[in-house]
Amino acid sequence: MKNKETDSEISALIKQTLEGYQEDYIQGSWENFVLKKKNKKRRIIWLISSGIAASIMVGILIFNLSNPVVKNDLLKNKQQAANKAIPDLFSTKKDTLTKLTAGLIPVKRKCSLKPIATSLYRMDLSGNHDAGTANTFYQTTNSPNDSVTITPNPKKTSDPAKGKTASKPIYFSPADDDQVVAAGSKRKVRFGVDFSPGINATQSASSFNFSGGITADIPVYSNFQFSTGLQLENQSIISNGPQISTSGPANQSKANLMNLDLPLNLTWRFFSNKLKCYYLSAGVSSLAYFKQDYQNTSYSQQLVAVSSLVGGHEIISYNIVNVASTTQNLVTPFRTFDFAGRLNFLLGLEQQLSPKLFLHFEPYLKIPVSGLATENLKYISSGVTFKISF
């Protein structure tokens, strides 16, 4: 009984003391609230947009890989390209043909692509498209897996040039369809220009960046190529420091950088047809800075006296205000160079616009290996590169 009374006394006391209790407004709270809201909004927008971009890319990729129509188109394109390549090959002079046959080995497997085989059967060495000549076909040593193999015809080849039957096999190198397609433009170094807007994100804030420049894609082997170039980047990196007062704005460091970026990436083209190509690229970037402008803003709270007249009497009250102080540091150009300072990752889509013009769409992520620039900044860059190559 006594406990119950004590409990209600304590409860009443607590209730009574807290009744009408109200803290004062703390200067700078609204500004801090607005800043927080903006950062949150920016982060959400970026997350949504990158999510949408990634979903679209994955969607297109899945659609292309699973759609039988696209698959058939791809096969047709390859066959057409192979068919086109064959007459060119056979219309060459004998010595040219002999050169072409160098380094080839005989194929002993059964035919897997009939249309190509048929077109081959209709040709003889002079380039006439007559049927019924006997051939043994050969395949390049470069591509043993993707071979186009043809059942040998037991009949002997008649050589119209010499007027007698040829007993030696005819050498032919159509084997890898990819190589046939690549015979033209794929093997060339492709140059391009690009522009990429993006976002630099530190642990506490994010800001916009943009860059642009020239690129070069150098084929190295099969579906692999080196991608390099020279990019001019304009970056702003914002980082909020620890808050001294919980109500005031946090200290802020802002860096405005202008630098050259020399990327060296290895690109793997994992899906391609006549019009489209998807690729993954990874590598490193070296950075040279020709403008580094650092601004550090710190906030402190000070008491400021405010006098007012009430009923003819001067009343002095004190307000807490946030006082900002900013220091600036400009670094001389090309003082800092980050060799292989950043890792690059990108997923790309290449779309053919005309026979020699390609549009690239490349969402990317750049991660620092260590602190970058003079003040060892750590930030992740992400965005989308739009590129035209030719």
């Binding site: 409990d7 003391t17 803290e23 709270s29 609230f33």
Partner: protein
């Protein structure tokens, strides 16, 4: 005068409905202190209270059209701050458990005598209770929630709510003399 103030608030709310930033700023500045005082009761640390206040105002501005002008604005705001505090507590439950363990033994405040108690003394005293007990006590004793409502808000059973309240009261009974002993002796 009171009528003028009410009109002012109506204007401010109307502005907030139209997403006018100046009106939002006025509303924020006007009710910041009140929201902070409520948040301080329901959170253990001042930093957390600031977070709760900001999150609450985000909700207020986003859902201001749901506010019924025939009801007092302070009541609506209080409910939002309480709900936000509970959500915040739930989100940071792991961290709160660690802070609880650390703060149980910290006694860095010299409270006033009982006759002279301030709100801050009471808040400090309440912070000595385990989080669940404190929340149930505040919701029941200060904000007049029923056990059914508390159970719904905190996602616990009604019987748990009753048990927590009894334990909170018992702890306060024990804490009160210990906590204010120093001042009585002075």
């Amino acid at each position: 005068m009171a009528g003028t103030k009410l009109d002012d608030l109506d204007d401010v709310i109307r502005g907030c409905l139209q997403k006018v930033e100046k009106s939002q700023e006025m509303l924020y500045k006007k009710f910041f202190g009140y929201a902070l005082s409520v948040a301080l009761i329901y959170t253990n640390q001042r930093n957390d209270a600031f977070e709760v206040v900001d999150d609450s105002f985000v909700k207020v501005f986003a859902e201001i059209e749901k506010y019924d002008p025939s009801q007092p604005f302070l009541g609506w705001l209080r409910k939002i701050v309480i709900n936000t505090s509970i959500d915040y507590f739930r989100r940071n439950q792991k961290r709160n458990l660690m802070v609880d363990a650390e703060t149980q033994h910290i006694h860095d405040h010299s409270p006033n005598a009982i006759s002279n108690l301030t709100a801050r003394d009471i808040i400090d005293l309440l912070n000595h209770l385990p989080n669940d007990h404190k929340k149930v006590f505040c919701l029941y004793e200060i904000d007049g929630f029923s056990h059914e409502e508390i159970a719904r808000e905190l996602e616990i059973s009604e019987s748990s709510s009753r048990v927590y309240l009894t334990r909170a009261k018992k702890q306060l009974r024990e804490l009160f003399p210990v906590y204010f002993k120093t001042n009585h002796e002075e």
